[in-house]
């Protein structure tokens, strides 16, 4: 299907609709990020046979708020000799790029309110994945600029590591996606979800691709075992060692938002997005109404995302950090060839199928 998107034709209603959606997504991701910090601590505690934060509110669920307030009231320190503008720009960029991914993820099926069909996707652009790639590749600027502007060798080293790590893993990630795209034949995320509704989830068609994507996603979000840029014990926190107060908060937040959104992307790409497993969504929609369906779908999507966020944390508290050369070796010598192989095999299979060679 060819989607003729006329990009800049906006009418007022659509504008409002999108604005609301944007606000929702941003708040949503912020809340999720906030609670990810809480979840992280809790999960860590459970895995280490501890209890975790439990003082602020019942079971400590107000802990993120407390943290936020604390960060707000911390003293702001800008190191001397650093470029103040860049020093502030760094975390802002990190936050911005982290947020931007949410724009193309389909959060649910179309809903019907006030006599309008409202898509629960901010921008259904037909190059959704490429957009995500673009934004992700920009993510490194926040780290690099911040690291450089700190005027600190450890920060700079962290920034360098981040840059090389992200660039290195982007390759394998891209190629693993290409193999997926060969199947789907579209770059639009909405399309992909719709395809997965009717067919198998993509994970079953691209297990290796998913694995590679997963590993790369860990690296791109600077999560353990790939958290070299902020390696606490070698680089004293890496690129954000000079940061304090809310600017540090931005960096930390952006990491969790990244985690959330990359989980969302993985779910959308490989696990059917908002598709409810084992249920025919269309039939369900007819029986309970579109809006309810969208709500359930949103919940399902959220559940899947939570699983992934849990996975992120689970891995973090299991696997130790890589050494730098190990990281590079893994990226270039293992993942890249593997993803190429995956792509080749996928291509060959598609060709075989197209030529009706049954096997």
């Amino acid at each position: 299907m060819l989607i003729h998107t006329t990009f800049l034709v906006l009418d007022g209603a659509v504008l409002i609709e999108k604005l609301i959606l944007i606000v929702l997504v941003i708040t949503g991701s912020l809340v999720v990020a906030m609670y990810s910090t809480y979840a992280e601590r809790k999960v860590a505690a459970f895995m280490q046979d501890r209890i975790g934060p439990d003082r602020a509110g019942p079971f400590g669920i107000l802990q993120p708020l407390a943290d936020g307030v604390k960060l707000f009231f911390k003293e702001e320190i800008v190191p001397t000799f650093s470029s103040k503008f860049l020093f502030i720009l760094g975390p802002c960029l990190a936050m911005l790029t982290a947020m931007m991914v949410g724009a193309v993820i389909p959060w649910g099926d179309t809903i019907h309110v006030f006599g309008r069909n409202v898509s629960l996707q901010i921008a259904d652009i037909n190059i959704g994945i490429l957009y995500i790639f673009g934004v992700v590749s920009l993510g490194v600027y926040g780290i690099m600029i911040g690291g450089w502007a700190s005027n600190n060798k450890f920060s700079l080293l962290g920034a360098m590591r981040a840059a090389s790590q992200i660039i290195s893993y982007e390759l394998a990630m891209g190629i693993s996606i290409i193999a997926l795209l060969m199947f789907t034949g579209t770059l639009s995320l909405n399309e992909m979800v719709n395809q997965q509704k009717d067919h198998w989830w993509n994970i079953f068609r691209q297990p290796l691709g998913f694995l590679i994507f997963l590993v790369c996603a860990f690296a791109e979000t600077n999560r353990t075992p790939f958290d070299l840029p902020e390696a606490e014990n070698e680089l004293i926190g890496g690129y954000h060692s000079e940061y304090s107060s809310m600017k540090l908060g931005f960096y930390l937040f952006s990491e969790y938002i990244n985690m959330f959104l990359s989980s969302a992307v993985m779910v959308t790409l490989f696990f059917g997005g908002y598709d409810i497993p084992f249920v025919n969504d269309a039939h369900l929609g007819q029986s309970i109404g579109v809006n309810w369906l969208a709500l359930i779908e949103g919940a399902v999507l959220f559940a899947k995302i939570c699983c992934f966020i849990f996975l992120f944390m689970w891995v973090r508290w299991t696997v130790p950090r890589f050494r730098y050369d190990q990281l590079m070796n893994l990226g270039w010598k293992v993942l890249l060839p593997l993803s190429l192989l995956n792509m080749l095999v996928t291509g060959a299979l598609i060709l075989l199928k197209q030529n009706h060679w049954h096997f």
Binding site: M47, D49, I51, W314, V319
Partner: protein, 188 residues
């Protein structure tokens, strides 16, 4: 050489097999372990509400002891300061004047007695060295403080409450610690 312990671990230098090289099984195994731990009961004790019983050999903050009449035992002999491996104890001695017999048991007493709690390692050697049973490691722990100065405990911090005037506080400060459960010989 004969290994000193039986906990020695021999490092294996053999080439890893392919299965080992891809690491994934090991990672999954590790994840399995961590996941299992999620369902274990946390051994955490919620501290302010719940406290754990100290072990019988616990050694807490020092106190300067008094005898049953409420007189200070310490005679400022300085043996504790000599014995202290962390050199945490300083004192100044003074002569007992007439009319102060109800305060000090001996003719000489410590006019000033300080223990730097930042240095103290709670080894208990002062207690062992004291011939007068004046220094005694209780069951309390050092309180948090904002300044370093606050950790230099003077005589007023260390001295045990008066056993006659405030017997409860005295008992509490003294605690139920059993000194040397197995015994070492110089008990009175």
């Amino acid at each position: 050489m004969e290994p000193l312990t039986n906990r020695i671990e021999h490092v294996s230098r053999k080439q890893m097999s392919f299965w080992e090289k891809i690491y994934l099984p090991a990672v999954l195994k590790g994840m399995g372990i961590t996941f299992r731990h999620m369902f274990k009961k946390p051994p955490t004790i919620k501290y302010p509400e719940k406290k754990r019983v100290f072990s019988p050999v616990f050694r807490g903050l020092q106190i300067l002891n008094r005898d049953a009449e409420g007189r200070e035992n310490c005679t400022a002999c300085g043996l504790c300061a000599v014995a202290c491996p962390a050199e945490a104890i300083t004192m100044e001695a003074a002569e007992r004047k007439a009319g102060e017999e109800h305060l000090y048991r001996e003719e000489k007493y410590a006019a000033k007695y300080e223990i730097n709690m930042l240095r103290c390692i709670f080894c208990g050697l002062c207690e062992e060295a004291c011939p007068k049973d004046a220094v005694y490691l209780s069951e309390t722990v050092a309180q948090a403080n904002f300044a370093r100065k606050g950790f230099i405990y003077g005589k007023e911090d260390l001295l045990i409450p008066h056993p006659l005037k405030d017997p409860e506080a005295f008992a509490k400060a003294k605690g139920s610690r059993i000194k040397h459960p197995e015994g070492h010989g110089n008990e009175h």
